[in-house]
């Protein structure tokens, strides 16, 4: 019986000598250690032996089984380690990237502006881009012969229907449908008959602001614009108000922010003034209140405007407005 055991042992160790991989090892495992392998089937032969030899043979077979299993497992462990080494990832290779689009920079800035005003308690309103002469001009105290019409060269559909030249018509629409208090902004696209160049686009984007209630003063307007300037461009930004003229406000103002490029020291961008012109504002003209059905004896209000494109250009140091509308992904990916 010992010969059988020896034969199996020597055959096994002979077989595993040339084994190079876990895959090569598997048939050997099956041949020797499998359910129908040589070791298992040898147990079946116990019955052939005389009774007194049986325990001895059984013991020897069990020892053989343990021995072979150990050898097999050691070998297999080695292969596993080897294999683990082989499949190690090169972690420096780039991953699979899904498309990850972004907000358009202009609309991102619009979001920031909106968020600032929403946090100050303003609502966001909207109005049509194709407007009537009434909302765009007449109701804003700009009659047909008023020289102020020349301030904004208008694109017309018909004599009475036009592309709005500012977001101010939304003021009228909101006042007509909602009683004061009103505290709103209206962002949107506006149109002027300008030839496109680095600083002009025949369409651009404004945010209109309007606050109407009892007891609203110019001091409220100054406060809100200052708060906006600080949130948008930082606490060191100063605001300057200068008298100006808009038919729909009285008193009217233009407001400037400290030049962000030179911190007010004077540079090429601000033409050495230290100030960047932002936009216009003022107290709502009583004629505008009348046109919109608000009692000017009871209420006062302020209105302001600002250019989203202009603020975005300042924020991102962009010197050509047209680049916003080319939508070149190499530009869009920068924001």
């Amino acid at each position: 019986m010992n010969e059988i055991i020896e034969k199996i042992r020597s055959e096994f160790f002979e077989a595993i000598k040339n084994v190079k991989s876990a895959a090569d090892l598997e048939p050997i495992r099956i041949k020797f250690l499998g359910r129908k392998g040589l070791v298992s089937t040898s147990f079946d032969r116990i019955a052939e032996l005389p009774k007194e030899q049986r325990p001895l043979f059984g013991k020897a077979l069990n020892e053989l089984k343990r021995e072979l299993e150990n050898a097999y497992q050691n070998l297999q462990g080695d292969f596993k380690k080897q294999q683990a080494k082989q499949v190690q990832l090169d972690l420096t290779l780039p991953g699979r990237k899904p498309f990850a689009g972004r907000k358009h920079p202009l609309l991102k800035v619009a979001d920031e502006i909106k968020q600032i005003f929403v946090s100050l308690g303003f609502t966001i309103e909207d109005g049509p881009e194709v407007e009537t002469d009434f909302y765009n001009f007449e109701a804003l105290n700009i009659p047909k012969t008023h020289p102020a019409r020349d301030m904004q060269d208008t694109l017309y559909i018909t004599e009475d229907i036009l592309l709005r030249t500012h977001t101010s018509p939304v003021q009228i629409r909101v006042m007509q449908r909602q009683k004061p208090p009103i505290q709103m902004i209206a962002p949107g696209r506006v149109y002027r008959r300008d030839t496109p160049d680095a600083s002009h686009s025949p369409f651009f984007h404004q945010v209109e602001g309007l606050v109407v209630d009892k007891g609203i003063t110019f001091a409220d307007l100054k406060g809100v614009i200052q708060a906006f300037a600080h949130r948008m461009f930082g606490p060191d930004i100063k605001v300057r108000f200068r008298p100006s003229f808009f038919p729909f406000t009285e008193p009217s103002a233009e407001y400037d922010f400290t030049c962000v490029f030179c911190q007010g020291q004077g540079c090429r961008v601000c033409k050495n003034t230290g100030w960047m012109e932002i936009s216009g504002a003022g107290m709502v003209h009583p004629n505008v209140f009348k046109a919109a059905g608000v009692d000017p004896e009871k209420y006062t209000g302020y209105a302001f405007g600002m250019g989203i494109d202009r603020i975005a250009m300042i924020k991102y140091a962009i010197d050509d407005i047209r680049i916003f509308f080319e939508n070149d992904v190499r530009f869009l990916n920068q924001f």
Partner: protein, 793 residues
């Protein structure tokens, strides 16, 4: 509007520098755009004396001069004919820099060396054209720096942007009035020294009749004889040039001078051309024609104020004179007109004529009717002094209904309420009086030159700007909190936009004015056309976002940016019925081209196809929990490939179209790649959004899945099979997915295999295999029967 610093000083004694004056004006609402020194800086030019002048040996027109400065004598070549020994001249030494940037170097001219240059006024930037060198009128000390001498006479042009309400500031005197108020100095009167030497009376020479008192409330005339037309004096030319008038002759220059200084336009007629010794002011009738002094025949808009003699029109009132009565070199006698025209009438006529002049700009912003007499007397006096003329006695002044000064109640409380201030009456009174408003006990009388003041709000602005806006208070916080309505539209648009961004699409923002042909590709209706477009590129309003989006695709493809997954939200514009505002709904567009995923070392290039765009569409609609939409096969979008276009429908509303752009459309945008897109009308879509969603319990019991593959005719649509199975699969069938579609070897001709995965689930218990198998078998049998299908293997 240009004034000069020294000109302002003629009327106000102030100490401020040009920059300080500019700041004061800007802060008071008269925005100074530029301060330009009249003498531009130069250096290295000194006073020299010409010792001798000899002819250049090799050039007829050149001379070789010896010029002495305080230290040395230089040899200089000079080309000017007027150079002469004994002259004191501005001499630019070697190394000098002239105002135009030119640097003087040692030179050899036709073989003779030259060490410097004798300068003309032109070369020193003092006039536009000089005929020769500048010989100083007096002896100056040799070697003295010429720029330092001139600097003492330096003047500055102050260029101011005047807002349309401030017609009163369109003159030197008007600006001076503001400067007086802002610097706290008195304003001087203009001195007019008129002699009226002619014995005859103006009233005997000319009659003036106003038939259109609405358009022309006041008209005055004077007669001036024996005018000698010639150039005006240098001081006048210099001042006119500085503020932007080109000197022409003494008569024109005098009227322009009065215009510049006083802001009141005048017109001079050749008296001999005025027929019948009369002026008639009347409104034009339809069809009237008139030749203006720029030799253009113009069709007059109806109701234009016309100045006529006994027979014919001789000028368009307040805008431009006529060719038939223009002052020429032969003119000796002049009828001088000074009038006041109604702003609205001039504005209308100027606009309709497309003719804007110095005169019309002033009249339409409001001239001062009280200036009519001052201006005409001033000009007449200057003609006496500068054109050797004599002026007839008296003035013909027709002013049937003098304009009243406006009165505004002085409401101190209201002014403070507007400004958020607490000024006392004294402060307000003092500010208003400083700009020549008359303040009485409880009212303010507005002088006739301030057309813009009529309400207490206007007074508030005057007070505010004179106090300086910077000195007004700013409220740091407000104590009022309002309960405001929800910004509904904004919230929805942001909702759509955020869902798009979460799908990984890039947001773009394109223009809304497009070419007519581009628009027509996307609509069968007439696109909304702009009457006066900027250019053909921007002739109509976009009927679809695809116009701008495909342009953006084209722009990027041309620059080798290949993989594009774009979305945009914006308004599109419906057609126009001629009366009402057109429909202008918000729209959402998506366009994709290039690779499905960014290619990489382990991601093969795989171009997008129809199912990518449809996937975006379905995922987006799914995110909105829009479960009542229908996808229909669609062939009415001419810009999309038939057989690769679907549409989204909710009830009767067609919400949008999705598919592959045709080659023709791509070609029109110069795109050679395949592009897919969809567009949804958000105004329609948002009608169907349901925002109040209720919680559905998450299933507690496991599901069982069964797969089956049917062989069906290849014309049977997948959606039909899925729908049938869903409808007939029993109440435990939760979902049906297509997991495989196959056509090809091992499948009979004309058939295709659809692999369906059915999921069964109960909310109450775990389903047994037996139970599931039973339902599964039933639906298989029904489907086979319904579609004449068979099982694959």
């Amino acid at each position: 509007m240009k004034v000069t610093y020294r000109w302002l000083k003629e009327f106000v004694d102030f100490k401020e520098t040009p920059q300080e004056i500019a700041n004061l004006l800007t802060e008071a609402g008269l925005e100074v755009e530029e301060i330009i020194p009249l003498v531009k800086p130069f250096d290295g030019v000194v006073v020299g004396k010409v010792l001798e002048v000899q002819k250049h040996p090799n050039a007829d027109k050149l001379s070789v001069c010896k010029v002495q400065t305080n230290e040395e004598t230089y040899q200089v070549i000079c080309g000017a004919p007027n150079v002469a020994a004994g002259q004191f001249v501005p001499f630019a030494m070697v190394g000098a820099r002239l105002p135009n940037g030119m640097k003087i170097k040692k030179a050899k001219i036709r073989g003779v060396e030259s060490f410097g240059m004798i300068c003309s006024k032109e070369e020193l930037g003092l006039e536009h054209h000089s005929d020769g060198i500048w010989a100083f009128e007096r002896e100056l000390s040799l070697g003295e720096d010429v720029y330092s001498i001139l600097k003492d006479e330096q003047d500055w042009i102050i260029d101011i942007a005047i807002t349309p309400n401030r017609g009163d500031c369109l003159s030197v005197y008007g600006i001076a009035r503001e400067v007086a108020a802002l610097t706290g100095n008195p304003l001087k009167e203009i001195t007019i020294d008129l002699k009226e030497q002619l014995p005859e009376k103006t009233a005997d020479i000319i009659k003036i009749n106003i038939h259109d008192a609405d358009g022309c409330p006041r008209y005055a005339g004077r007669v001036i004889r024996n005018v000698k037309i010639g150039p005006s004096p240098g001081w006048m030319q210099k001042k006119l040039e500085a503020v932007g008038f080109r000197p022409i002759n003494n008569i024109v220059d005098i009227t322009n001078y009065v215009l510049a200084e006083l802001g009141h336009p005048l017109h001079a007629f050749d008296l001999k051309q005025i027929k019948g010794q009369q002026i008639n002011v009347r409104a034009s009738k339809p069809g009237d024609l008139f030749v203006t002094l720029d030799d253009k025949e113009r069709k007059l808009p109806e109701n234009t104020v016309m100045i006529c003699d006994a027979e014919r029109p001789v000028a368009i009132g307040g805008i431009m004179g006529g060719q038939n009565s223009e002052v020429s070199d032969q003119t000796t006698d002049i009828l001088l007109e000074s009038a006041y025209f109604k702003p609205e009438r001039i504005a209308m006529a100027s606009k309709k004529l497309g003719l804007s002049t110095d005169a019309s700009q002033r009249f339409e912003r409001g001239a001062d009717p009280e200036n009519v007499i001052r201006a005409i007397n001033y000009a007449a006096a200057l003609m006496e002094q500068l054109a050797g003329a004599q002026v007839a006695k008296g003035i013909v002044d027709v002013y049937p209904q003098p304009l009243q000064q406006k009165k505004i109640p002085l409401n101190v409380e209201k002014i403070n309420k507007i400004l958020g201030t607490d000024f006392d009456q004294k402060t307000i009174r003092q500010k208003l009086e400083s700009i020549q408003l008359k303040v009485e006990a409880d009212q303010v009388i507005v002088p006739t030159f301030r057309h813009d003041l009529s309400l207490v709000e206007d007074l508030a602005e005057e007070v505010a700007r004179l106090v300086n806006y910077s000195n007004l208070p700013a409220k740091k916080y407000t104590t009022t909190f309002y309960e405001m309505p929800v910004s509904e539209l904004e919230n929805r648009l942001q909702y759509f936009r955020n869902e798009m961004l979460s799908l990984g699409l890039q947001e773009i923002f394109t223009q809304s004015m497009v070419r007519r042909a581009e628009a027509q590709a996307f609509t069968e209706d007439e696109p909304l056309a702009i009457k006066n477009p900027v250019s053909d590129d921007m002739a109509v309003m976009r009927p679809s976002l695809f116009t701008g989006m495909l342009k953006a695709v084209s722009h990027n493809l041309n620059r080798n940016n290949k993989d594009l997954h774009f979305f945009e939200i914006g308004r599109i514009f419906g057609s126009f019925d001629g009366i009402n505002l057109p429909d202008q709904p918000y729209s959402l567009g998506v366009v994709i081209t290039g690779n499905r995923q960014l290619p990489g070392w382990n991601v093969p290039e795989q171009a997008v196809d129809f199912y990518d765009i449809k996937g975006y569409l379905e995922t987006f609609l799914g995110k909105l929990f829009l479960d009542n939409y229908q996808i229909i096969l669609y062939d009415k979008a001419g810009y999309m490939v038939k057989g690769q276009t679907i549409a989204v429908k909710i009830k009767e509303d067609l919400i949008g179209v999705c598919g592959k752009f045709t080659e023709e459309v791509c070609h029109a945008f110069e795109i050679e790649k395949e592009v897919f897109g969809f567009e949804l009308n958000l105004d329609l879509l948002q009608k169907y959004l349901v925002f109040d969603r209720k919680y559905q319990p998450v299933p507690r019991f496991p599901y069982s899945e069964r797969d089956v593959a049917f062989l069906v005719d290849k014309d049977v649509l997948a959606a039909e099979v899925v729908e049938f199975v869903q409808k007939n699969g029993g109440f435990l069938l939760k979902s049906v997915e297509i997991f495989d579609v196959y056509q090809g070897p091992n499948i009979p001709q004309g058939k295709r295999s659809l692999g369906l995965r059915l999921r069964y689930q109960s909310a109450e218990r775990t389903l047994s295999d037996k139970e599931v198998d039973q339902y599964f078998q039933q639906i298989i049998n029904k489907t086979i029967k319904h579609f004449s299908a068979s099982l694959r293997n």
